[in-house]
Symmetry: D2
Subunit: 338 residues, 4 copies
């Protein structure tokens, strides 16, 4: 069965996912595209042989749209996801699920009311082969009970529009999701340290930041977020447990030995680093919605990410340790299944 | 445009490629399957929603078969490939192109007579991201003119049916193809050294072997073939040039530090090591035949591989240095295009 | 000129340094040994052909003792160092310089009064080839201005006598010294996080701990101290600057590939990891005192280490961020020379 | 007991060993130096507080010379070593033991006649910590019975005076010795391949060369000798056995990540790479001759190295496989002891 997808949002991310659903993923077809900018929608639709639909509501209502992809501007996510859930259609929502925790909760409640999982949030790290190997190692008990995780998330540079809060909302949010999944534990507190600013950040940006998370079971996570590191895109993760440690592999690159040094290349951006993770993420989503419920990051995970990033921004701004005020997890999302 | 593929041969490899064309590659559809064992053909056809066709000739003749995949027993390859070429249909042939150099030449001549490239041979190393990075490094002159290449090809173990000649025909053949491509040079001579046999090889098998190749420009290649190395599947390649060296990356694996050691896993078989290369190989083939000629390993490359492996077997059996008696390369196959 | 050394303290460390001065270092000779336990002193003296002297005061006063090595119980260090300074003799004092900051200051004042450097403190990390390479890289500006340092100090296990404060006093003190030197910066604040305790620590021990230091220039250091990590002795240090990072090398070990994994050994204790650093430390000290002032960690460095470890213990016990209340650095110790 | 050493030869190597015996090694003292160039002898003697002696014969005869170090021009080695043996004095001879196999045999016979080991040859690889770890791994059976060894010996560049035969005599001779020791096996045949010459070698030099050795037990060794590799000094060694492989560690160097690459430095010459091995070699020699017989590379090892390098040069010049015509090993040198 081919999953016919309607796409809301034809910006850079939406366009890339349309290409992915068309050229990379099997079993899917993009049939409709909508965007506030109709010309842009038309252009993207044309690459997939899809039609343009005037509004998101129209798109969700189309009878040949089996599933919805939300790749529009963050503040519009909640409305579109809620509409898709109301229509009983599976919806893949790029992060964030909603920019506001209350809206996330509304989605959670709507999904519970619908009685089955419809929502998946676009946290692609869980589909990276390195993180998956790490999870296998942890789940197998190879390092014993985890006690600490040391992480770094570095970008070569960011545009002027990137503000200090985005270090949590746009950048650390990936670690927040993948660590909750990796550790099968909840983040309950956060503190943010602010080292001396790099001269390569624009004037209003706190960069780098060191985020310190504590989990319910007492695991401590330190995460360096450094978005103007200049040298490339670099993701580090080392989990330390009671009897050993495990480290995320570096991307496989050829070593060249010349002129007195041995050198290997460093990826330059997230597309290069996580392109395969994105492909796997969408293939698994399409395969799952073709036959049942999506198994990936849930609306609850989307809610948790928003609550934790909110707390992280508060910790940054206040300079204090902030408790994460999360609701109790509904039974609906218990276990690995949801 | 969807490329409709007819598959000849429903054994282990055929079945895997049917799955790949169906579940992984976009733009392709398996429409027909044939095999000497009709039951097996039926089983594999069913996984793809394809029909069973009684013979290879029938399959090639079907009007809705746009392209042919030959995955049958090696000695039958030539016949099927020639039939596909005669029918003017693109054909992907698993290695070897033919078990006999004369047959390879017949295919080359038929293709030249057809006036356009129809044949691609299944040498998947050229699609591995590590080899591709190596090629970029060499082509960019980062190590200067290549002088030597040190290689190893190790399998954990082989079945009893694996005989000494297969070290060249089935195993080293991959290095032979990928090195010709990597170096853009031709192999002109070969010698085989036979170290002490491992006790883990069956009695009739010379294992390991060290193959020494010389290219037209004087590059020396040493290739360890060791198919009962026990510990895993391991592919090594290091090119040494006038100003530096470049080394094939190890597969990216998480490091675990526990109980006094740091360890990383080693792939256990070629599927694990080259799964992505196979996927890329078929996607690029499908994309290319949908619009024109296949860009991958040509009939000429298939001929060259057979001539060189024949010389390698002769070198093993005779203990002497053997010159590779290859015809001159037809203009048809000149340059990167063919 | 041979430097004739008198040794105070014939315990494990003293014995090892006597062996080092006798068998490894050139230009030195151990001529006298003292210890509260005369039998132990005799035993150690015999290995070096030295005589036993009844008390530390006697030993320092011997006319053929050119320089003094203090390797006795920590709380006695200050008294012996002060006596050596009073006698105008160079003195190498194992860490800590004194267990109490006031005593350290008294030594600093005595040395300033003496008008020349006599005291060197036993922080051997500065003599490790890896740290020295790191310092060269930082000093050359290869990573730009440092912003963060991520460290780990792991021991396989510790005895029952090791208490929570020793994580700072005995363990982290090495990082505290080497980072002050590496960064040429002062530590001004500290906070300690306490992850969930490992089940492998004895009941009264907070293990692991994460120490967070801030320097005068705003560099942030995170240091994992984990003294029951089980798997070995492991020292990690990664400095991140405005345009790159530099990482302490792993000890060079042979890789073995067998049974599905590639593995390399991890050192099991600090002797194995830093044996060469100790040798270099003593050779350079002997070479220097033979002709002038010792160039290594000074009395001021010893004072700083004690003040910072005191603050770290207070941070651990209070759970608060603690400012390091250090005096202003006297001009006497300004610059690299002192 | 201090070993009083007389040094024959005050060139670059002699001077360096005098410094080593004086400043690095404990338990030794250089008391006399001789050289054809008396001024040079005087200069070097002065650095050690030693006296100049007119001839080698005089030097060997001095009553306060306990042991002799031969670091003169290769062709004079045999004469000096024979004189030292005749005088019953331990003698350390830089490689080669003699430039001629017959002379080596004469030394062997003289030593046997003397009834105890007096001669040690300067093959320092056996004292490198990496090779020692490799030997431990092999001896422990971690990789099973060795079948193949892949080696490379690369220098950044060589002077005009370096001729093709020196690739064996001066360069590969180190691998020849260390592999005989590592494998506890004898080299019985050799073949030399000549890849295309690098443009960076002077006109008369065959560079690189690939030397193929076979041992008595059937192990195959391939050794790339490339003395104008430009990028640095690089020693590689990988032993492959019946159940795994072991690889010589790379020198420990800090990794720097900046400007899109991760890089580590490569040693630039043999002094940098093997300085510690030289130090250990001389310390162990001094320690041993102070109390008994030297345990290091014997006169027999020196003979074997000369016979094998002679065969290698013949193989290079003839292009043929050459059998190594070595005498039977005398019982005197049987076992690890001799």
């Amino acid at each position: 069965m081919t999953v016919r997808v309607g796409v809301i949002g034809a910006g850079m991310i939406g366009r890339d996912h349309v290409r992915r659903l068309t050229d990379v993923v099997t079993g899917a077809e993009v049939v409709a595209v909508t965007d506030l900018d109709a010309a842009r929608a038309g252009e993207v639709a044309a690459t997939a042989g899809a039609r343009v639909v005037p509004t998101a509501a129209d798109l969700i209502g189309q009878s040949d749209v089996d599933a919805v992809l939300v790749a529009s501007w963050g503040p519009t996510h909640a409305e579109h996801v809620l509409a898709a859930v109301a229509a009983g259609k599976p919806v893949f929502c790029e992060k964030p699920l909603a920019t506001d925790a209350e809206d996330c909760l509304r989605i959670v409640e709507a999904e519970i009311a619908a009685g089955r999982r419809l929502v998946q949030v676009g946290f692609m790290r869980r589909y990276d082969s390195g993180y998956r190997e790490l999870k296998k190692i942890l789940d197998a008990g190879e390092i014993g009970a985890p006690l600490m995780v040391h992480c770094a998330h570095r970008n070569a540079s960011v545009p002027e529009s990137y503000h200090s809060g985005m270090a949590a909302q746009d950048t650390a949010v990936h670690e927040i999701d993948v660590l909750r999944w990796l550790l099968d534990d909840e983040i309950v507190g956060v503190q943010v340290l602010t080292p001396r600013r790099t001269r390569h950040a624009h004037a209003a940006l706190r960069d780098p930041q060191i985020m310190l998370f504590e989990t319910a079971s007492g695991i401590r996570i330190d995460l360096e977020v450094f978005v103007n590191c200049r040298y490339g895109y670099d993701i580090q993760c080392e989990a330390v447990g009671e009897k050993g440690l495990a480290r995320l592999p570096e991307p496989a690159r050829a070593a060249v030995r010349t002129a007195g040094v041995t050198r290997t290349g460093v990826p330059q951006d997230w597309r290069e680093r996580f392109v395969t993770a994105f492909d796997v993420e969408f293939q698994e989503w399409v395969d799952a919605v073709a036959v049942g419920e999506p198994p990936g990051p849930s609306a609850w995970d989307g809610y948790a990410a928003t609550v934790i990033t909110d707390a992280t921004v508060e910790a940054l701004e206040s300079g204090r340790i902030v408790s994460v005020g999360m609701k109790d997890r509904p039974a609906f999302y218990a276990g690995g299944a949801r």
